[in-house]
Subunit: 363 residues, 2 copies
DNA sequence: TGTCTAAATGACAAGGTTGTCATTTTTTCA
DNA sequence: TGAAAAAATGACAACCTTGTCATTTAGACA
């Protein structure tokens, strides 16, 4: 039995049926009597028979393979500290569903470069994948690629309204953050956001602004500082300046929303050096719920979650549905699908119990 | 041209050669005149021909696929905070080499359960992978699995001396940590380690003990506290107790080595609450160089790196070599291969300049 | 130029599966 | 019980490539 691989003929012989019947059994086709099926199955088990993917691929196009393009892993090695490592949660979500559906993930991790992505798609095509996920490291728009008729889903970004895509609802998340602070009694809320050149920055700012307006908070208290692109070392002084402005304001904020957890983390020592205790003197909120950062910070960060895993699940759910019945109308009129996150309460926000909450306007 | 896929016959026809010659060109076989090769290549380009993997698989078993089993992603979703997320750096290292060699990674992320792993191997077998990596979330021993003759490498763990495997050299790393502290003038060094029931705990303790001995540090100053299994919430009180014992010692340590970064991180507030400033009053070292943790801590943690990426690279390098020439003798007499990490200097260790360094014993 | 050798190219089978369609077996119902 | 219908099963081609070995072409040398 050393190195011996049984093929469908061996199974057929052992079971005393034709190869076609064996084929029917392994593909769960109907029209096989239970007694025959059992006999064949027994032979399959005995011979440890596995269908030869190559041969199968030649006849059908059922590869049971789903392609996944990401750049998480490549990025990790270049910038281990930052990087879109958390987008692995997207993969996690996809993974769960694919396993249930007995699909194997073919993962190509590549530079987030259009050429590389195209060649990845080519590789997928040659492996006859049944569907493709394209995972982005951060929420942004990409140019549409023309593919074959293979279902294609972008996760954590979008292309155009025809291209299936799932994104986080950054607008809604920032709104939730403000509403949470309101519930805790804060009415003077500062905002130090991401650059509005990226999607998340734009949407979160909008969510912040509109919520402030909606709740009739005095508009001149909206302390907004932009231009902080990312929480990398070189923008550290920008963060300094922004905090400076906010705190020197005539009536400074009792709470500040930061563009992401990383920024909030960096702000902590700056604030403390000014003698401000968090959350006693000032509350802060992050965004992303970047586990490592948010939980490692002291105090632990109250933040808004980026529903990465859920996004992955939603994309997978839909793609697998498409696979099962390709003609079904899409539920969605246009893309991207927006997925809502939620406030994750930890320690960095204090309740100002003395202050009354502004009544909510009717939208 | 809609949906039309050219096959080798189309190319041959267009180029005016036989299919075999086309086959030679796409497989870079020798024995084709340059002029012929060019003509064929032109036809290939024109028709956007891609060889059909299925058909190719049936004849040659060259799938260009490498299987990778991990449980990183699955684990992430269960325990986002801890989890072996950093083992993704192993994948990163493997990825680099595989891309260079034009191999595509087939990643199956599964529970770290023997049954699941076996079935993953079966899937890989049916896809004709050319080699398999098995990535463990933490350094430990696994029972050997009998596979086909496909090259199989375990990374971050080992099985038996015949099974190819790569592990971090925990013994050496802890030794480096102690030597670094010695260089900084510390001679009273405490140790609060991982449980010795896991490999890393065992080896690091040994590294610590033997180095202490080797440098003739008074043995009764070796303050060792064990039994801290992991830095999860429920062992928090254990960490408290351990620190208590160390600090109440007649001549307390000027530096403490912790079992990992997570533990060191948790120790910081405990130490500070006792009025000890880090590193002015006491120096601390972590282990793992868990980027998020070590860099997010304040002060940033001086630690020892777990050479995950390098381990991945080494495994990949060797597996790919095996693939290229299967008969070559292995360079290694027995496994696992040990890969050394290094001290990563950040902020949590202070130099005690006043104290002379013990002279190094000859080994 | 003709012969011999080496290099280049081609013809054809084989590989393991599924789709099509034919055949056999079982079931249904008069 | 027998004929018709339905269900189960089987025979065989086709899928696209590469390996083997045969044939043709180009090159070397007398």
């Amino acid at each position: 039995m050393e190195g011996f691989l049984a093929d469908i003929h061996d199974v057929a012989k052992l079971a005393g049926v034709s190869i076609k019947t064996v084929s029917r059994v392994i593909n769960h086709e109907q029209g096989v009597r239970e007694i025959t099926r059992a006999r064949v199955q027994k032979a399959i088990d005995k011979l440890q028979y596995t269908p030869h993917i190559g041969a199968r691929l030649m006849r059908s196009s059922k590869s049971n393979l789903i392609g996944l393009i990401s750049s998480t892993i490549s990025t990790v090695s270049r910038d281990p500290v930052k990087s879109g490592l958390s987008s692995i949660h997207i993969v996690s979500g996809i993974q769960q569903y694919c396993r249930k559906a007995n699909k194997t993930l073919l993962i190509i991790d590549t530079e987030p470069d259009e050429e590389d992505i195209k060649s990845s798609i080519d590789i997928f095509r040659s492996h006859q994948v049944e569907g493709i996920f394209h995972i982005l490291n951060y929420h942004h728009q990409v140019s549409p690629l023309q593919y074959s008729d293979t279902p294609f889903w972008i996760v954590n970004g979008y292309s155009n309204s025809q291209t299936a895509a799932v994104v986080p609802d950054d607008y809604h998340g920032q709104k939730l953050a403000v509403e949470y602070l309101l519930q805790q009694g804060h009415t003077r809320i500062g905002y130090i956001g991401l650059s509005t050149s990226i999607e998340a920055g734009k949407l979160r700012l909008k969510g912040f602004q509109e919520t402030i307006q909606q709740y009739d908070l005095p508009y001149d208290l909206m302390l907004t500082e932009l231009g902080i692109k990312n929480a990398s070392d070189n923008s550290f002084s920008l963060l300094h300046e922004a905090l400076d402005k906010l705190l020197k304001h005539a009536s400074p904020p009792t709470a500040i929303c930061f563009g992401n957890d990383e920024m909030a983390l960096q702000a902590i020592p700056i604030l403390e050096k000014r003698g401000l205790n968090i959350p006693d003197d000032i509350s802060i909120m992050g965004y992303d719920n970047d586990f490592a950062t948010a939980a490692a910070a002291r105090p632990k960060l109250t933040t808004v979650s980026l529903p990465y895993q859920r996004m992955g699940q939603i994309a997978a759910e839909n793609l697998l549905r498409q696979l099962q019945d390709p003609d079904a109308e899409s539920k969605f009129e246009d893309y991207p699908i927006k997925v809502k996150g939620e406030v994750v309460v930890r320690e960095s926000v204090r309740a100002l119990s003395s202050i009354k909450i502004a009544s909510k306007k009717i939208i």
